[in-house]
């Protein structure tokens, strides 16, 4: 990709090389060949070498050195190749050095922004890859968790619920028709569509996909049509002020004062074209830096044509008109094309990266919410399984066993009553299995419960501001998650840390997220505490969390993204 850019800029010069050969101008062809080689190999080769040595790539200093070396190399090559015809050295040391300095500035002006843009592009591409890798890893982690949740569901149902169902079935005698039907329905439910993670939740996973963005690498040609205000793109006036004096001095030094006015006029017209055309060209075209610059280049070329004809006459070969004309055109087109392309690709990449980062941040937030929701649903499923479901089945089983206890002493009406009760219980189990609601946690009561439970062991103070209670009043999942985190924090502090005093407080951040802060005077958290399974709980439930030690106080901070 690196050299592809260079190649793009040099395509027209390569065309000149071929045209020179075709026009029987081998000297010109060789000259252009040297220009091509020196510029690409020396400039970028040296830059690459400096990178290996300094581990820094194309700094302004290395650019300047490289540009100077390109000029020296080009002139030296010119001198040794054409000792008799070289027009430069016959003017003496000072003009030669001045011209070399001018060429250096030109080379630097041409290449420095390009390589800076290229560097930005490479850095951007790397950042893009990192964002994509992170996103991919997060989604893979979610898929893994979802798969594990499904495995757990199966194993728990098979180990806990299904044996109970089987026992129930065995206990049901003839006449308990409705209860038998309920048992069959539970069995069917379990085998077909019971999920700890609801279908809606699984569908949410499908939305957790990064938005596809066309890579700038694939849209190099697309940059042709990439529109951007001219002032932010090419900045033609800047190039005019650098290039025009150099061209003017060069023309005068080489061809004498007789070309001064023509060259000056050509340069002024070029500048006017660059600025003026941008005003009169339709905005659809003008907004493309490349298009505007090319139009300007064509206009300038028309003015330069007399100079080219004069040069051709001096060389005694009219074929050279086409070569030199093409060279002029190439100087404009090639340079402008390269600059415009590199700049616009680089800026396109910046835009893409910005969008990607924004989307990545949004996706990370969604992933954090998804993780929390998944954890809460699994935890809730566990509570329901060991609470309502299993207890319901146990009660049904015990009641059915009473049918046999009495050894037929119970009246038929009493037996029907038991079967009816069992049927109601099983209906409740079915309801729970079909629609497992997240348990409603009263956070304030739960905090009070913690305080009571550990009173005498640890003095727990808590603060639950009204605005926080109000914010989470319709978010059972957040209340559930906060309660789980508080329980974990208290257990860690009191049981493992031996804390005598503990404070728990809540707040709302500017972005609506809920902040949990728990401090205690217990032992500093050990490596085991920080990396224990409890840390997994915080990883899954909190958007961000930290456990730090300040003096003799341990501080836990956890931030939960609010879905309201």
């Amino acid at each position: 990709m690196f050299f592809a850019y260079i190649l793009l800029s040099e395509i027209m010069r390569i065309a000149i090389f071929g045209l020179s050969l075709y026009s029987s101008l081998p000297d010109v062809a060789v000259d252009w060949a040297w220009i091509l080689i020196s510029r690409t190999v020396v400039y970028f080769g040296l830059a690459w070498l400096l990178k290996l040595i300094n581990k820094k790539y194309l700094t302004p200093a290395t650019n300047l050195i490289s540009a100077a070396l390109v000029s020296i190399f080009s002139l030296t090559a010119d001198y040794y190749l054409y000792p008799d015809d070289s027009q430069i050295f016959k003017y003496g040391f000072v003009p030669t050095v001045a011209y070399m300095a001018a060429l250096t500035v030109v080379a630097y002006a041409i290449y420095a922004p390009v390589v800076v843009d290229l560097r930005r592009y490479r850095e951007g591409a790397r950042a893009l890859q990192e964002v994509e890798a992170r996103t991919k890893a997060s989604l893979e982690e979610i898929d893994f968790k979802t798969e594990v949740a499904e495995q757990i569901r199966r194993s728990q149902l098979e180990a806990i619920v299904i044996p109970q169902i089987q026992k129930l079935k065995d206990s049901l005698g003839t006449g308990a028709t409705s209860a038998t039907t309920s048992v069959e329905r539970i069995k069917d439910l379990i085998e077909t569509n019971i999920r700890p993670l609801s279908k809606d939740f699984i569908n949410q996973r499908a939305q957790l996909r990064p938005v596809a963005i066309t890579r700038p690498v694939a849209s190099v040609l697309g940059a042709f049509f990439y529109r951007r205000p001219l002032t932010q793109g090419l900045r033609p006036i800047f190039w005019f002020f650098i290039l025009s004096p150099v061209y003017l001095i060069g023309d005068v030094v080489v061809y004498g004062l007789k070309v001064f006015w023509v060259s000056m006029l050509a340069n002024v017209v070029w500048a006017l074209c660059l600025v003026g055309l941008s005003l009169i060209i339709p905005s659809r075209i003008r907004t493309s830096g490349f298009a505007a610059a090319s139009f300007a280049g064509i206009a300038a070329y028309v003015l330069w044509l007399p100079i080219d004809r004069q040069i051709a006459a001096e060389m005694g070969n009219l074929n050279s008109v086409s070569v030199v004309s093409t060279a002029s055109l190439a100087n404009t087109f090639g340079l402008v094309f390269l600059m415009a392309l590199a700049r616009e690709i680089s800026e396109a990449l910046s835009d893409v990266l910005e969008r990607k980062n924004t989307q990545s941040a949004e996706l990370n937030l969604k992933i954090a919410e998804y993780n929390r929701k998944e954890w809460v649903l699994q935890r809730n499923w566990s509570y329901l399984l060991h609470g309502n479901i299993q207890a319901g089945l146990s009660v049904a089983l015990i009641k059915l066993s009473q049918l046999g206890d009495s050894g037929g002493a119970k009246s038929a009406a009493a037996k029907r009553q038991i079967v009816r009760e069992v049927d109601e219980i099983l209906a409740g189990v079915i309801q729970t299995l079909q629609d497992p609601q997240v348990l409603d946690v009263d956070l304030y009561s739960s905090l009070q419960q913690q305080k009571d439970l550990w009173s005498g062991v640890s003095d727990i103070k808590f603060s639950l501001p009204e605005r926080v209670e109000k914010a989470i009043s319709d978010q059972s999942e957040i209340r559930f998650a906060l309660n789980e985190m508080v329980c974990e924090a208290v257990v860690n502090a009191v049981k493992h840390g031996g804390a005598k005093r503990m404070t728990i407080s809540f707040d709302i951040e500017d972005d609506g997220a809920i902040l949990l802060k728990a401090t205690n005077d217990g032992k500093a958290p050990s490596k085991d505490t920080v990396k224990s399974l409890g840390s997994r709980l915080f990883d899954d439930l909190a958007q961000r969390w930290s456990l730090t030690r300040h003096g003799k106080t341990t501080v836990l901070l956890a931030k939960l993204a609010s879905t309201s």
Binding site: K145, V148, A149, Q151, I152, R154, S155, Q156, E158, A159, I160, K167, P196, W375, Q378, R379, W381, S382, Y383, H386, G387, N388, Q390, A391, G392, S394, V395, L397, I398, K399, S401, D405, I425, G428, L439, V441, S445, S446, Q448, Q449, Q450, D452, L453, W454, G456, V457, N483, E484, C487, E488, V491, N492, K495, K527, K531, S532, L533, G534, R536, L537
Partner: protein
Amino acid sequence: MSETHPAVLLVEDDRGYSTLVADNLSNRGFDVKQAATVAEALSAAKTKEYDVLVADIYLGPGPTGLDIAEQMAKANPRLGVVFLTNVKEPRYISGASKFKMGNASYVHKDRLLESSFLSTVINSQLSYRGKSRFRDDLIANSRLAELTDIQIQMLRLMAGGLGNPEIAELRDTSVRAVETMQTRIFEALGLTSGNRVANRAKAISLFLAEAGLHRGFSLDD
């Protein structure tokens, strides 16, 4: 303790099951107070001294029956404790629990199919203060029963979602040592497929099913 009506605090979050057990015990002469939450249990314990605590372990989000027992036993060392639960072994859910089983009884809920069983267990708590005869958790009715405490701990960490490098760091040992221990666990569980990943998934599933836990559970569940 009342000679005729021993006071029993029954902590069970499922109302239906709680009523069934309370009726059963009341019919057999016990003075039963029902509590569905930790708060209700603690509140009840403040107003009256109970002879026996009958508690489920899972009580929904928050503290467990083990926590209540620990706190009540501190205030009343003569308290008899009966855990009435579906969890096969307490070490599955609380590998690092500070609560010592002591003379507590541990009864699986299914045992209530014998209507007089629970009253027998409670009476043994009232009359005998040595190690309880009723310890369902010690009966080898689980595929995990033969595993050592360390192996159970290893399974807990695996089921908690930790990778081998994380487990090695946590246990201050090498990844290789962790893998060796896991191989022994797989052998003990009869998992001999030769595929470590498959064995690992099966072992975790088995553990979670037996313990009734879910992935990502807390160390102190």
